[in-house]
C-alpha cells in the first residue's frame, strides 16, 4: 500500500462543526446512511420481538459487565494466568506507542513482511496499518468493509459496517481503478473479487492480527464473532496470531458470554448469531496439524484506566461495541461517521474518545447531541450515554483551578465571561427582589433585544420577552374581583 498517501480522516484540518456542515450538504452520503440506519433499526427491532425478554436480557448484560469491571484487576490477572498456562503470550501496553512497539517486536522476531488483519477497532486506535506500513511491513485489512475503506485511504465510518458510507457504484468504481477489474455494481461479483484477492493474502501472510469481542478470564479464551470467515482465516492460517484488545473486554465466566453474545449480534445486525463464533484458547498443540505456532494477546489501556477511575464514567467501559447507539442516533445518521474525525463515531464515540485522546481534542463531541435518549434506550448493556454526555459537558467547562481532575483535557471550553454570566443568572433566580426587578426590566425593555444574538439567531428568531411576565399577570388576575372568570 502507498504509505505516502495519508488517510484523510486522520487530518483534523477543520473542526467538527465544519466537517458536520459539509456532510449535511452531501445528499449521496446522507442517503447512504439514512437507508442503512433505517434497515439496521428495523432488523434490531425484529430480533428483539419480545420487549420483556429484551429488557431482562439488557439488565443481565449490564450486571455482567458491571460485575466484571468491579473486579477488573483480578480478572485481568486471572486471564493473564490462564492464557499463559494455555501457551498464549500476554503483553500489556499503557499507550498505543507501547502497543505498536510490542507488535513491531513480534513482526521483527519473525522477519515478517506481510500482516493480514481481521476487523479490530483497537488496531484502528493504534493506527497499526500506518505504523507498520511506514516500517515497510504490509498490513492489509481482510474484512470486506475494512478492505474497501483501506483501499480508498479512508477510515471506517461505522464500527460494525466500516464502508457503510459507500454504495455499490462507488465500490465498483474503486475496484475498477485500484484492481483493474471491470466496473460492476453487482454486490456478489464485488465480493467475489475481494475474496479472490484476499485468499491469496491469507495464504501468504506471515502474521494474522485480530481483535477480541470477549476475553474469558475463567478459561483463558478469546472469543471473536464474525460473518465472513476472515476472523477465522487470520487467527488460523498464518504461523503467528496477534490479538489486540482493550483491558475492559474481560468477562469473568464462560457462561457470561451467552447473554452478551445474544445482545451483541441482535443489537448490531438483528441476527440471532453471527456465522462464526470463534473461541481461541491457545496456539497449536503437539499433534495438531494446523493453527498458529504462536498466539499473542496485547492488552491496551490507552485512557481506559482514566474512565475507570470515576464510578460514573466507568460505565463507558461496559460497551460491547455493537454500534446500536449510532444506528439509532439522529445526529450520526445525518452526518455519518467521518465527521467525528476519530476512530469511534456516534454516541459511544462521543463518550469514549475523550478518554483516549483527551477532551480538549474533541471539545465539540459532548454537545453534538440532541440528548434525545435513543442511544441509552437501545444500549444492550445499559450505558447511560445521555447522562455521560451531560457529565462531559460539565467537564468541558470546569474551571482550570478545580481541585477535581476527572480527565485529561478537561476545562478546554471554560470561559470566565460565560461563568460570570451563569453565576449572575443563578444569583438572580435565588433572590426574589432581584428577580422582580429583572422581570420588570426585561418585559418593559423587550424591544431593545437585537435581531441578531450570536449563534442562536443562525437558526432561530431572536428571543423576545413577553410584554408582561407570568408572575405579573397572575398577580393582576388574583387582584380582580372574584366571579370574573
Amino acid at each position: 500500500m502507498n504509505t505516502q498517501t495519508r488517510i484523510p480522516a486522520l487530518e483534523i484540518e477543520e473542526d467538527f462543526r465544519a466537517r458536520a456542515h459539509e456532510a449535511l450538504g452531501d445528499p449521496q452520503l446522507r442517503g447512504n446512511f439514512r437507508r442503512a440506519m433505517d434497515s439496521l433499526m428495523t432488523k434490531r427491532a425484529a430480533a428483539f420481538s419480545d420487549p420483556e425478554e429484551r429488557e431482562d436480557l439488557r439488565s443481565l448484560g449490564n450486571a455482567i459487565r458491571a460485575r466484571a469491571l468491579s473486579k477488573l484487576p483480578e480478572l485481568l490477572e486471572q486471564l493473564d494466568r490462564n492464557l499463559t498456562r494455555n501457551g498464549v503470550q500476554v503483553h500489556w501496553a499503557e499507550t498505543i506507542e507501547e502497543a505498536n512497539a510490542i507488535v513491531l517486536g513480534i513482526v521483527n522476531a519473525h522477519s515478517a513482511r506481510q500482516v493480514i488483519k481481521g476487523k479490530s477497532m483497537v488496531s484502528e486506535e493504534m493506527e497499526m496499518n500506518d505504523f507498520l506500513g511506514e516500517r515497510g511491513v504490509e498490513c492489509l485489512e481482510a474484512d470486506m468493509g475494512e478492505y474497501i475503506v483501506q483501499m480508498d485511504h479512508e477510515k471506517p465510518s461505522h464500527i460494525i459496517m466500516p464502508a457503510i458510507h459507500k454504495n455499490a457504484g462507488q465500490v465498483g468504481k474503486l475496484f475498477h481503478e485500484k484492481l483493474g477489474v471491470d466496473y460492476t455494481t453487482d454486490v456478489d461479483q464485488l465480493i467475489q473479487i475481494g475474496r479472490r484477492v484476499l485468499r491469496q493474502k491469507f495464504f501468504e501472510a506471515d502474521i494474522g492480527v485480530s481483535g477480541v469481542n470477549f476475553a474469558v478470564a475463567e478459561t483463558g479464551t478469546l472469543l471473536l464473532v464474525e460473518n465472513e470467515g476472515n476472523g477465522r482465516m487470520v487467527t488460523g492460517v498464518p504461523p503467528v496470531h496477534i490479538a489486540v484488545t482493550g483491558i475492559e473486554k474481560v468477562v469473568e465466566n464462560l457462561r457470561d458470554t451467552v447473554p452478551l453474545l445474544s445482545l451483541l449480534t441482535r443489537s448490531a445486525l438483528g441476527i440471532p448469531i453471527t456465522t462464526y463464533v470463534n473461541m481461541i484458547s491457545g496456539p497449536r498443540q503437539p499433534g495438531e496439524l494446523d493453527g498458529p505456532q504462536e498466539v499473542h494477546l496485547v492488552l491496551l489501556d490507552n485512557g481506559r484506566s482514566q474512565a475507570f477511575a470515576d464510578s460514573e464514567l466507568r460505565q463507558t467501559l461496559n460497551c460491547i461495541r455493537c454500534g446500536a447507539c449510532m444506528n439509532h442516533c439522529p445526529v450520526y445518521t445525518r452526518i455519518g461517521g467521518h465527521a467525528y474525525g476519530e476512530v469511534y463515531p456516534g454516541p459511544i464515540g462521543k463518550i469514549i474518545t475523550p478518554h483516549l485522546v483527551g477532551l480538549a481534542k474533541v471539545p465539540d463531541h459532548p454537545s453534538a447531541s440532541s440528548l434525545c435518549g435513543a442511544c441509552g434506550e437501545v444500549c444492550p448493556v445499559k450505558i447511560p450515554i445521555p447522562a455521560l454526555l451531560r457529565r462531559l459537558r460539565e467537564e468541558n467547562v470546569k474551571a482550570p483551578d478545580s481541585p477535581h481532575q476527572a480527565m485529561r483535557g478537561q476545562g478546554s471550553k471554560y470561559s470566565r465571561k460565560e461563568r460570570f454570566i451563569w453565576n449572575a443568572w443563578a444569583r438572580l433566580n435565588r433572590s426574589p427582589a432581584l428577580y422582580r426587578v429583572f422581570g420588570f426590566l426585561a418585559t418593559r425593555l423587550r424591544n431593545l433585544v437585537p435581531n441578531s444574538v450570536g449563534p442562536w439567531t443562525q437558526n432561530h428568531s431572536a428571543p423576545k420577552p413577553a410584554p408582561r411576565s407570568l408572575h405579573e399577570m397572575a398577580r393582576e388576575h388574583l387582584h380582580k374581583p372574584s366571579g370574573d372568570l
Binding site: 473486579k71 454486490v187 456478489d188 484476499l198 477465522r232 465466566n253 464462560l254 448469531i273 473461541m279
Partner: protein, 223 residues
C-alpha cells in the same frame, strides 16, 4: 515499572474501598425463552440454518455415506477432503472403496506447512463431524482435533458436516453446561451458523465471503 504493574495499580487504586458486585447470573433468562420440545428441535435448527442458505439433508445412520457421495457427484466436485483418523472419515473411506467411480478422497494427515498451497488452491470440498448443534441460533458446534484440524471447515469452498439429531441442544447455555466447556476448552472451538457471508456493501447480503460458499449438513435422524 512494567505496563502491567502500572495498569493494575491504577485500576486497584480506583477500586479502593469498594466491594465486587455479586454474581447474580440468572440462567432462566438465557434458557427459558429458548426451549423446544424434542420433536421441534430439528425443525427449529433447520428453519434457522436454511434461512442463511445452509443446505440440509435428512439421512439415516445406515445410508449417509451414500447420500454424501450423491451430493459430491451432483456438485461435480473433483475431490473430497476427509479426516482419516475419525470414525466418520473411516466410514467415508469404506464407502468410497466400494465405488471407484467417485472422485478421489484426500486425507488431512500431515501438517498444513506441507500442503498449504494444495489446500488453498486444489481442495474443493471437505467433510467433518460436529459435536452437536444449537436449535436456538441454528449453529453447529465444531471442536477441531488433531485428527480433524480447524482449517478443514474453513478453507475448502464446500463444507459437508455430519450431525446426529440426538445431539441437537436447545441453547448455548445448555451446551456449555452439559458438555462442561468451562472445565477445558480446546485450542479452537467454533460455532458455525451457515456459509460465510457479508453485508458490507450497501447491506446487501452476499454469500461466500472468505470461508465456505456452501455449507451442507447431513442430519442423521436416527442417531
Amino acid at each position: 515499572m512494567s505496563a502491567k504493574h502500572n495498569i493494575l495499580a491504577k485500576l486497584r487504586g480506583s477500586l479502593a474501598g469498594t466491594t465486587p458486585i455479586a454474581d447474580n447470573f440468572n440462567e432462566a433468562l438465557v434458557t427459558e425463552p429458548w426451549r423446544y420440545a424434542p420433536e421441534q428441535r430439528l425443525a427449529q435448527l433447520r428453519k434457522l440454518m436454511e434461512a442463511v442458505h445452509t443446505e440440509i439433508h435428512l439421512c439415516s445412520e445406515q445410508d449417509w455415506p451414500r447420500r454424501l457421495a450423491e451430493q459430491v457427484q451432483a456438485r461435480q466436485l473433483l475431490s473430497l477432503l476427509i479426516a482419516p483418523g475419525t470414525a466418520h472419515g473411516q466410514r467415508v473411506s469404506e464407502h468410497w472403496a466400494l465405488h471407484p467411480e467417485l472422485p478421489p478422497l484426500k486425507a488431512y494427515d500431515r501438517p498444513i506447512e506441507q500442503w498449504k498451497a494444495e489446500l488453498f488452491n486444489d481442495t474443493p470440498a471437505s467433510f467433518t463431524g460436529t459435536l452437536g448443534a444449537i436449535a436456538a441460533t441454528g449453529s453447529l458446534i465444531i471442536w477441531p482435533t488433531p485428527q480433524e484440524p480447524r482449517l478443514m471447515s474453513l478453507v475448502p469452498p464446500v463444507h459437508f458436516a455430519l450431525l446426529k439429531a440426538s445431539e441437537i441442544y436447545d441453547n448455548l447455555y445448555e451446551v456449555q453446561q452439559r458438555q462442561k466447556w468451562a472445565s477445558g476448552m480446546p485450542t479452537n472451538a467454533l460455532l458455525v451458523s451457515g456459509p460465510s457471508k457479508t453485508a458490507d456493501i450497501e447491506q446487501v447480503l452476499a454469500y461466500g465471503a472468505h470461508g465456505p460458499k456452501d455449507l451442507v449438513v447431513l442430519i442423521l435422524e436416527d442417531a
